[in-house]
């Protein structure tokens, strides 16, 4: 079991969701996130004083998948989120030792299902 965490541009969320549905990945958690990376920030000004905005608004998607879905999911996120510009985001894949479905008490592969 893997946990796939993706940080993407907020405006690409619709495309990523569509690509995931097409790959039959229909379960995900989405949160708003702030972050900085290679994209750097931009400048705003307020009443004549400039200031650097270096934490940019991003969207974080978390998806827990079984092994056979890992590549499909990664491909779908890439297909949906990629524009070719700096700031498109990153996908992190980590091993997930356990998963529990609260309603039934199921564990492991079944719980992800």
């Amino acid at each position: 079991m893997k946990l796939i965490i993706a940080y993407i541009q907020p405006h690409k969320l619709q495309d990523v969701k569509k690509a995931l549905y097409e790959a039959e990945v229909c379960k995900m958690s989405v949160t708003n996130a702030l972050g900085c990376g290679e994209q750097h920030g931009y400048e705003e000004s307020y009443r004549g004083i400039k200031f650097e905005v270096n934490l940019l608004k991003k969207v974080r998607i978390e998806i827990a998948v079984n092994e056979d879905f890992v590549e499909k999911t990664i491909d779908a996120i890439c297909a949906g989120a990629k524009t070719g510009n700096i700031g498109d985001g990153k996908i992190l894949v980590i091993d997930m030792p356990e998963c529990v479905r609260i309603r039934t008490g199921q564990r492991g592969k079944e719980a992800i299902g």
Partner: protein, 452 residues
């Protein structure tokens, strides 16, 4: 034919009015020289004056939410409840203080320095007497002066300290100066008006007095934490809701149609003319502030353009009845440029932290508006062959306002600071005054983001 018809209607109205005993100032109108028609006309005019002055008073009252929204929008979410409470309470406390004491000091029979009668409108019968209308109109003006200060002192002032301040401005500071310039509008009479000082709707009496008190308050308080970096350079503390600030400015603009045209306290054609000069100055104020910001700061900053509209309104408040429409355009345009330069000067050079620009809008442009009457007044202004006399009197009045309001402001705020304390603790300022002073949040259930 038409005039005969009108005469008949007026005569009928006269009979009705006399019959129903609604005529005001009966002692004056009952003189035998006046025909019934003239009596009726006067009675109608008196009632029109009352209705218009009351409508104007209600419009000026609506400037209170305008101020509240501007100040709330230009400050941070964690202090929104506090600024709303300050706006609510300075009006409430001010209304009572002005009724009991302030109105008498301002408009009672004067001892030369301030009025000494009419406290709580003593001796005035409850009912249709003009003084009640005049009281509500003047109350909302006093409250306007009081509420200007809250914005400049936003996000760091102890609530109790602010309540004490707001009591004294409406009780004493505003009315005494007001009696010098406006006492003669009722039973009083002051040295400034005797010199020929012009301040039709209060660029000095209301706005400069409020603005200079705001400056004193901001100086005694010191800047908000984080406003100036270790290098002493100002840092931006963006307001949390520009749409609210914009709504507030539109509301104020709307309320100003009561503030200036209402200061006629007379229902006649001058209302429309003053509304025109008022609107023109507000428009050029907004436009020229936008261009000044665009040129100086490379972007048409919304907060500056909004301040610019208010600056134009404040400036035209004094000369609105006696200047040409072209002069109104110029007065507003100068105000728009002036407000941007003043905000930058106060922020970068004086290093006084005024989160909403209250000192620049009301103090500085109140001063400019007052002087502009000495330049553009069509009867006595410098540009109309009136010489320097009017301009000199205007400068004297504006200087007196500065000395009185700024001086007493420094004294009052220092006393509050040394006794009960004027500023909240560092910890409370970081957390926000909403939780610290009022134990509640403005946006409970919302997540507040910071991207800097």
């Amino acid at each position: 034919m038409i005039t005969r018809k009108r005469k008949i209607i007026l005569a009928a109205a006269a009979v009705f009015l006399i019959g129903s005993g609604r005529l005001l100032l009966a002692a004056e109108t009952d003189t035998p020289e006046l025909s019934p028609i003239e009596v009726a006309a006067k009675g109608l005019q008196d009632n029109i004056n009352i209705v218009w002055t009351c409508i104007a008073a209600f419009l000026v009252f609506f400037m209170q939410p305008g101020f509240a929204m501007v100040e709330c929008g230009f400050t941070r979410a964690k202090n929104a409840v506090n600024i709303l409470m300050k706006n609510l309470m300075d009006f409430s406390i001010g209304s009572i203080a002005f009724f009991l004491v302030g109105f008498g000091l301002m408009f009672g029979a004067s001892n030369g320095l301030f009025g000494t009668t009419l406290f709580g409108l003593k001796g005035i019968e409850p009912g249709a007497h003009w003084n009640w209308t005049f009281l509500i109109f003047q109350t909302v003006f006093a409250a306007t002066a009081a509420t200007i200060v809250s914005g400049a002192m936003a996000e760091r002032t102890k609530f109790v300290g602010y309540l004490i301040y707001s009591f004294f401005i409406s009780l004493f500071i505003y009315p005494v100066f007001g009696s010098w310039a406006w006492g003669g509008l009722l039973d009083g009479g002051g040295w400034l008006e005797k010199l020929g000082f012009l301040d039709f709707a209060g660029s000095t009496v209301v706005h400069s007095v409020g603005g200079w008190l705001a400056l004193a308050g901001a100086i005694v308080l010191g800047p908000r934490l984080g406003k100036y970096g270790p290098d002493k350079k100002p840092r931006a503390i963006p307001g949390h809701n520009i749409p609210l600030a914009a709504l507030g400015v539109f509301i104020l603009w709307f309320g100003w149609f009561g503030f200036n045209p209402g200061s006629t306290t007379t229902g006649n054609g001058s209302i429309g003319y003053i509304a025109v000069t008022t609107n023109l100055a507000a428009a050029t104020g907004a436009i020229f502030a936008m261009f000044a910001a665009w040129i100086i700061m490379k972007k048409p900053d919304a907060s500056m353009a909004l301040n610019g509209a208010l600056a134009g309104l404040v400036a035209i408040t004094c000369p609105c009845d006696g200047v040409s429409p072209i002069a109104a355009l110029i007065i507003g345009g100068v105000a728009g440029i002036l407000v941007v330069l003043s905000v930058l000067f106060i922020d970068h050079v004086l290093k006084v932290d005024d989160p909403v620009g209250a000192v620049s809008v009301h103090g500085v442009n109140g001063l400019w508006g007052t002087l502009s009457a000495g330049l553009f007044n069509m009867e006595t202004g410098l540009f109309y062959g009136g010489g320097l006399k009017q301009l000199g009197v205007q400068a004297l009045g504006a200087a007196a306002a500065f000395a009185w309001a700024f001086g007493l402001g420094l004294l009052l705020f220092t006393i509050i600071d040394k006794t009960i304390g004027l500023r909240v603790s560092t910890e409370e300022e970081f957390k926000g005054l909403d939780v610290g002073e009022h134990g509640m949040e403005a946006y409970s259930g919302f997540q507040v983001f910071s991207t800097t």
